[in-house]
């Protein structure tokens, strides 16, 4: 607490907590939201636990670790709870690592695309005129491009792509969608009386965008982040499955690639099913999270009986 802090600013922080608590109590009531959160917590645990197996025994290393006694794909056993892949590597540790990668890719790409999309959307919407046209035509051009195909071409050009490169490019392809929505929201806010009041008070355009428009647009941004995460995870998985992922990273898509490439698709369900199910479930759970958050953020969507 610095000397500039006043009693008022302290109680404002308490207000934030109150709002969080209020938001949570509304969120709780949504069944989808509850399922989503539970699933996400499970996946988060998986990601955290991914560090454990290699510590227990080097043969559990997802990429390099090989069971000295096994050199083919085997089913679940006490040593390998989900079995081994074609090289004798533990599938469970690969799955856990995949969870970590999924979160990393999903959240990073989503964060970057939403950051870009929000900033661009706000500026385009508020400033309008030439800047708006310029930015939105740029967005249109990018939206029209098939993200996956372009990434495949780049992979073909540059050889293998690193995981961060993939993340960066996913963000680059996905910001236009966010910016359109944020721009629309900004347009509707632009003419609201409280914005005019800020103008009358002498606020500069920059101040209005960041102090007045942004806080009212951020809830929407957060919401879109959840949708972007699902999209990012799927793109990465598709790339890896097609063989254009980062060869040094063990992701679920990569696991599927190995199953396919080594011809074990119909022979090793214990290897094929876990990564596929995980991809589906994690995207589903982020989607459910987004839907439930929608209700928290937009009071109008709350079901009746929940009015305050």
């Amino acid at each position: 607490m610095t000397t500039a802090d006043t009693g008022i600013e302290l109680s404002e922080r308490l207000q934030w907590m109150n709002r969080l608590i209020e938001g949570w109590s509304i969120y709780k009531k949504n069944l989808l939201g509850k399922i989503g959160i539970i699933l996400l917590v499970l996946f988060a645990l998986m990601a955290l636990c991914s560090f454990i197996p290699p510590l227990l025994d080097p043969m559990y290393q997802p990429m390099a670790g090989v069971d000295p006694e096994i050199s083919t794909a085997t089913g679940p056993s006490t040593r390998h709870w989900l079995g081994t892949d074609f090289m004798g590597r533990d599938i469970l540790s690969q799955l856990l690592t995949g969870a970590r990668i999924a979160f990393m890719v999903g959240v990073s790409a989503a964060f970057m695309s939403v950051f870009l999309g929000t900033a661009i959307g706000m500026i385009a919407g508020y400033v309008g005129k030439f800047m708006d046209t310029l930015l939105m035509r740029l967005a249109d051009m990018i939206m029209v491009m098939p993200a996956l195909l372009v990434l495949l071409m780049l992979a073909a050009l540059f050889g293998q792509l690193s995981i961060w490169f993939i993340v960066f490019f996913i963000a680059l392809f996905r910001w236009p969608g966010v910016s359109r929505v944020i721009r629309a929201q900004t347009l509707s806010l632009k003419h609201r009386p409280f914005i005019e009041a800020a103008k009358v008070a002498g606020a500069s355009n920059l101040r209005i965008i960041f102090r007045h428009i942004m806080p009212n647009v951020l809830p929407l941004s957060f919401l879109y982040m959840t949708f972007q995460v699902t999209s990012a995870i799927i793109i990465e998985a598709a790339l890896a499955f097609l063989g254009f992922g980062d060869p040094g990273t063990v992701s679920w898509g990569m696991m599927l690639q190995w199953v396919w490439k080594t011809g074990h698709m119909f022979r090793a369900p214990y290897w094929l099913l876990p990564p596929g199910i995980c991809i589906s479930l994690i995207t589903l759970s982020f989607y459910m999270l987004g839907r439930a958050m929608d209700e928290v953020l937009d009071p109008r969507l709350r079901k009746e009986g929940e009015t305050d």
Binding site: A4, T6, G7, I8, S11, E12, L14, Q15, R192, P193, F194, E196, A197, A198, K199, V200, A201, G202, A203, S204, R207, R211, H212, P215, N216
Partner: protein, 329 residues
């Protein structure tokens, strides 16, 4: 209250037009004249009422004063200085002197900002004082609009407060810079009677405490009578009648003002006979006419003169002016 008869704000030949867009396959977009050659002089320290129905241009006039819009023609003067077309630093300085209270208390406050943040914002924008000094000013202003004790309200958010309380916040925000001139755009039209009464009294109080000049925009003649020393009645972008409030409302000279007074519901007494009866039951067929804006609905209009000549504002008596050829003093 003694104050020198000094003009603080002046409208000189103000014209404001809006372009309407063509509706699908309908007529091409036409210009809507929101303000048609308006001339007003407002005295320092008074509460001046701008009265009219929707479409009269009263809100537009208010918006021109706070520079949310610019007029097509004409000039506006504050303290003798021209303010139309100001840019940059001078424009920002202007906002310290002229502020606005908006109509809708549910929309004119940022829902994400606390009460304290909303009211301290103008001070931050103009870099007035440091944290502690600012806090004092904000709390003092909150007290003066009746948000007492201030600490109870400071960290609340608009959605937790009633319409009347929100409007007080809007007034505090407008007054925190100690402006010279405040435009109050129908500040009570969305409030109940009791809250409206509170707001009226607060405005009177503000004028007394801060000696601020207020332009009170309203559609309610009774509210104008209660608050204002002088009023101007507007119709379709034109001034119809101006003068001391009591005078204009007790002895209205313009047929439109008379029609407005006739239209008011009468408490308890079911008088069905209109006092002035200046309104036609159905409008005249419109034709291209450049005469009096009220011609189409006026029952005492002259077919030739009123439809071809636009009556200027003519002084009738003690600062009471009317835009009508047939008004009698």
């Amino acid at each position: 209250m003694e104050h020198v008869e000094e003009t603080i704000l002046e409208f000189d030949g103000i014209v404001k037009k809006y372009k309407t867009r063509a509706f699908l396959f309908g007529a091409r977009g036409q210009d809507v004249v929101a303000l048609n050659e308006i001339n007003i002089k407002i005295t320092r320290g008074e509460i001046f009422g701008l009265v009219g129905e929707s479409g009269s241009g009263k809100t537009t006039a208010g918006r021109l004063i706070v520079r949310l819009e610019e007029p097509e023609r004409g000039k506006i003067y504050l303290d003798g200085n021209e303010i139309t077309g100001l840019k940059g630093k001078i424009s920002k300085d202007y906002s310290r002197k002229v502020q606005m209270i908006f109509q809708d208390p549910y929309q004119s406050l940022n829902p994400q900002l606390s009460v304290y943040d909303t009211i301290s914002e103008p001070l931050i924008i103009h870099k007035i004082g440091n944290g502690k000094a600012r806090e004092n000013v904000v709390l003092q202003t909150m007290k003066s609009v009746g948000l007492s004790p201030p600490h109870d309200f400071a960290h609340r958010f608009p959605h937790q407060l009633s319409g009347g309380q929100r409007q007080r916040i809007a007034i505090a925000r407008a007054m925190v810079l100690n402006p010279e001139f405040v435009v109050a755009d129908e500040p009570t039209s969305m409030l109940d009677a009791s809250m409206s009464a509170q707001i009226f009294n607060i405005l009177l109080d503000m004028r007394k405490q801060f000696n601020v000049t207020i332009l009170f925009i309203t559609h309610s003649l009774a509210a104008a009578r209660y608050l204002c020393e002088r009023i101007a009645v507007m119709y379709r972008g034109n001034l119809m009648e101006t003068g001391p409030a009591d005078d204009v409302l007790k002895n209205p000279k313009h047929p439109y003002t008379q029609a407005l007074i006739d239209a008011l519901p009468k408490f308890g007494n079911s008088r069905d006979v209109n006092r002035y009866d200046t309104l036609l039951r159905s409008e005249r067929v419109p034709s291209e006419h450049i005469g009096c804006p009220f011609f189409l609905r006026c029952s005492c209009a002259d077919q030739i003169k009123c439809s071809h000549e636009k009556p200027p504002l003519m002084r009738l008596g003690d600062s009471h002016s009317v835009a009508c050829f047939y008004a009698e003093p």
